[in-house]
């Protein structure tokens, strides 16, 4: 088990390194950071001055290793826009987004897994059709529109929740629901098909032949098998919650990483964008690693080859 985790961990590190390489070169080759700082009308002299001050006149490879060295010591450079260390900036905004992403994931799990299980136990019943209806609507409705509707319904017409901001947990209810809803279709369908397949399997027939039925059959025999593929998808979905926070945070005026990303892109703040992309990628990689480990813990066929 430990060796498996170490192997997966090593692989994850390799992926993270590749991502850092790709983001750095894309941002520094596709755009000219000097222009970004100086603005479009800058004279060549000003540009040269800026290049020298920020060290942008050095070769790309040198700058990459310089940046990478900084990253390894926790130094992501200075923000051009806010004029403070990028790491500090990101650290101050991260808790809000983590809270939002985790609560959104909880919303996804709480809606889609029971709904998927309900649909799977009685395929083609009214419950199945209801679940399908929920999935189709959640897929068809765009995130920003759902956000606005929720604000109108539950913050303006019936003022239960605040319209925007991130001061109390009440502020997180609507955005978490909106962000979580977008993952419901995929997770629900996967739970449904996985469970239908498992319920038709030979080992469930064996369990039935031993007198198991109803809830014990579901919880003690079927669920652990059916949940295996769902775990991997949930991990990817959690990664997407971080990326998806860009839109949701803007709608609900939440000061998290999503809004920071949007603002630094608009402000051409390359060091901040660079770190955010790197952090989002790291989250993805870490989530996939977590999914691998969870799957190994749940499935002995992975753990004991």
């Amino acid at each position: 088990m430990l060796r498996y985790i170490l192997q997966r961990g090593a692989l994850a590190l390799a992926v993270a390194f590749t991502v850092s390489l790709a983001t750095f070169f894309l941002l520094n080759v596709a755009t000219d950071p000097a222009y970004a700082i100086a603005g479009e009308d800058a004279t060549p002299e000003v540009l040269a001055q800026i290049r020298e001050t920020y060290g942008l006149d050095r070769p790309l490879a040198t700058r990459y290793f310089d940046w990478l060295g900084g990253v390894l010591t926790g130094d992501f450079g200075e923000s051009y826009y806010w004029n403070k260390p990028v790491a500090e900036l990101v650290a101050s905004r991260a808790p809000t987004t983590i809270a939002l992403a985790l609560s959104a994931l909880s919303v996804t799990i709480l809606i889609s897994i029971p709904l998927g299980a309900l649909a799977a136990l009685k395929p083609n019943s009214w419950a199945d059709r209801f679940a399908l209806g929920v999935a189709v609507s959640a897929q068809a409705v765009p995130n920003f529109w759902l956000g606005l509707i929720m604000i109108i319904l539950f913050a303006v017409t019936v003022p239960i929740f605040p319209v925007s901001g991130d001061d109390t947990w009440l502020h997180f209810v609507l955005p978490a629901f909106v962000l979580g809803a977008s993952s419901v279709p995929a997770v629900m369908r996967l739970t449904r098909t996985g469970l239908i397949e498992v319920m038709d399997s030979d080992y469930i027939r064996t369990a039935r032949s031993k007198g198991f039925r109803g809830m014990p059959l579901l919880t003690r025999h079927a669920m652990r098998n059916a949940i295996l593929p769902v775990v991997s998808v949930l991990a990817v979905q959690l990664g997407q919650k971080f990326g998806g926070s860009v839109i949701t945070e803007s709608i609900f005026a939440i000061n998290g990483l999503g809004r920071l990303a949007l603002e630094s892109i608009l402000g051409s703040d390359i060091p901040t964008v660079q770190m955010l992309i790197f952090v989002f990628a790291l989250v993805f990689v870490a989530m996939n690693l977590l999914a691998d480990i969870l799957n190994a813990a749940l499935d002995p066929r992975i753990r004991i080859g």
């Binding site: 192997q7 080992y203 064996t206 032949s209 007198g211 098998n225 499935d299 066929r301 004991i304």
Partner: protein, 608 residues
């Protein structure tokens, strides 16, 4: 009062094409401690009947029965929860055909063994654990205490089936239903499992229903037999009586279709036609379309039940008429040897597989084939025998040129296979695979499938290719009207004929057949074995036949080569090896092969 009594059980499946009547008016009864064999080919409804009793039918299936009594209680009036609690486990236990998939992969053996008896309050957790260890030991699992902590994937198929048996026995059922318990296992393991079941039954005084397609397994292990065909019981009675004096033409044909492991080789009785579709509820005899003795009255109404409770059948024929039609099967002269000319030769062939555990694990070598010398003579059928994992399929893949040996050389017609262009090689040796359901392209018609090798080789124009396809279909006795059919419209036996026709279309020097009949029913196997043996006689076909079945070897092979752990341990003429095996392993294989004494069957059948 019998322990179990089933009256007129019917099961129908709700399929898109309409209701499929899988089981019709089946009546069975079983006394306490008695064993009943339900025999039939695939689609006969034998498993469905048992699943209906266990309430394990697939979702789309529905059942009706006039009566279904267990110990005098009418089961159709017992609600689901009560049935699951009071019957499944303590009264009715079941072992399934698929040991590889019938255990839950994510839970430990120990948990799966003990959970039912602990949950029902029959045993305490520690008592259940002790009982499970005891039973694992009883069913022949070494180191049972350590096994309790293992997962199913760490056990072999035979071991998993033993665990399944131990699991069913945990609740000490009054009736154990075993659905093809040994079909997925190697012969030597098969014999052990059947013996184990018989011992346990005697020890515990259990009743048993043994469901199988294998008449030899039934002959050895049960008191009474019910023969099913097309969803109905066509004949039933004491095992000795039914198997030695079959009174239904189907039972008799089925017995005639089983190849034997000794004595003179006889042409197998192949039942013409295919199993009927069960969509319509027939008002005639289900077997009539394939029965050699069918008469107008057979199709006019359902045949009456004849005979007494000890041996009855559903057939219009009187005993005398049945006997009159009986004729001794034709004896086949077995080719003693092929020509001296060597068609295929393997010289010191080895195949080593390298594997490593995970990305960084230590490399690990498996010698699947180890220094094998083998030659196939022109015009002979050489049987390559061995159990799963013996390396026979790996060797066959190399002989076909689909895989390269790690060391050694393979000569086809004296030329090294490694030097041959793929087209040239394919023209000389052609494969026939085990599973005719997945080895034919479902989107091509038979004419296209059979002529495909010619098209690939650019031989002849479309017209010539079509003529050749027709010729091949005639050779393998497929009717002309199937020329434009798709594989999905064919039965298993017909598909395997298509595979043979396709393999023969380029006039190859030899065929390599990998278990060509093990996916087929006995009556269909008989058709294919008869065909291969005729092709050898008439065309001088050279064939390497890979099989685990000694009866198949006896039926058609000229010579035998026995493989064990990647090595060739014995070769010789089929009749010599089968009668005087030189190695203990071959002796074991032969002893384990289920056999059925035809001579007795044939002679007693003739007695008045």
């Amino acid at each position: 009062m019998p322990m179990l009594e089933i009256d007129n059980l019917s099961v129908s499946l709700d399929l898109p094409a309409g209701p499929l009547h899988a089981v019709r008016d089946v009546s069975l009864s079983l006394d306490r401690g008695e064993s009943l064999g339900i025999v039939g080919e695939s689609g006969s409804g034998k498993s469905m009947s048992a699943l209906a009793l266990m309430r394990l039918l697939p979702r789309r299936a529905g059942m009706t029965a006039d009566a279904m009594r267990f110990d005098g209680t009418e089961l159709t009036r017992v609600d689901e929860a009560t049935f699951a609690r009071d019957y499944l486990g303590p009264k009715l236990g079941m072992i399934f055909q698929e040991p590889m998939t019938s255990l839950n992969p994510v839970y430990r053996i120990g948990r799966q063994l003990t959970e039912a008896s602990v949950r029902s309050g029959k045993l305490s957790a520690s008592a259940a654990r002790e009982r499970a260890i005891e039973l694992l030991d009883r069913v022949g699992i070494p180191e049972p205490r350590a096994r309790m902590a293992q997962y199913p994937h760490q056990l072999s198929g035979g071991q998993r089936q033993r665990v399944m048996i131990a699991m069913a026995l945990m609740m000490e059922p009054d009736l154990l239903i075993a659905d093809e318990p040994t079909t997925a296992l190697d012969v030597t393991v098969q014999a052990q499992i059947m013996e184990l079941l018989a011992d346990l039954r005697r020890e515990m005084g259990m009743g048993m229903i043994l469901i199988t397609h294998d008449l030899a397994v039934v002959a050895r292990n049960v008191d009474r037999v019910a023969v099913m065909y097309g969803g109905e019981v066509v004949e039933s009675g004491a095992a000795a009586s039914v198997l030695r004096q079959p009174r239904h033409p189907y039972t008799r044909a089925l017995l005639g279709a089983i190849p034997r492991t000794d004595g003179p080789v006889r042409k197998l009785e192949a039942i013409p036609g295919t199993v009927p579709s069960l969509y319509a509820r027939p008002r005639s005899c289900v077997f009539a379309p394939r029965c050699a003795q069918a008469r107008p009255e057979c199709t006019a109404s359902r045949p009456p039940v004849q005979g007494d409770a000890d041996h009855w059948r559903r057939c219009v024929l009187a005993d005398a008429e049945l006997r009159a039609a009986q004729q001794a099967p034709e004896v086949i002269e077995r080719a003693r040897t092929g020509a001296a000319e060597t068609a295929l030769e393997a010289r010191g062939v080895s195949r080593v597989f390298q594997s490593r555990k995970g990305l960084f694990g230590p490399p690990h070598e498996i010698r699947a084939v180890d220094n094998v010398d083998l030659s196939v003579h022109r015009g002979e059928i050489l049987a390559l025998v061995g159990e799963s994992g013996s390396g026979k399929s790996t060797l066959a893949r190399m002989l076909l040129g689909l895989d390269a040996p790690t060391s050694g050389e393979i000569l086809l017609d004296g030329i090294p296979v490694s030097d041959m262009a793929p087209m040239d090689r394919a023209g000389r040796v052609q494969p026939i695979f085990q599973d005719p359901y997945s080895s034919l392209n479902p989107r091509r018609t038979l004419a296209e499938i059979i002529a495909r090798p010619l098209a690939l080789r650019g031989e002849g124009d479309a017209g010539a290719r079509r003529r050749k396809a027709r010729e091949m279909m005639e050779l393998v006795r497929l009717p002309d009207r199937l020329l434009h059919s798709y594989p999905s419209q064919l039965s298993g036996g017909q598909r395997q004929r298509v595979a043979i026709a396709r393999a023969l279309v380029t006039d190859p020097r030899m065929l390599v057949c990998d278990e060509p009949t093990s996916a087929l029913d006995v009556s269909v196997q008989a058709q294919i074995l008869n065909l291969l043996s005729e092709l050898q006689r008439d065309l001088g076909l050279t064939c390497l036949l890979i099989t685990h079945d000694m009866a198949v070897v006896h039926q058609i092979a000229t010579r035998v080569a026995v493989m064990l752990n990647g090595q060739l341990i014995e070769t010789g003429l089929a009749e010599d090896v089968l009668v005087r095996p030189q190695t203990t392993y071959t002796r074991r294989l032969l002893a384990a092969a289920p056999r059925f004494e035809h001579d007795e069957a044939a002679s007693e059948d003739m007695a008045p």
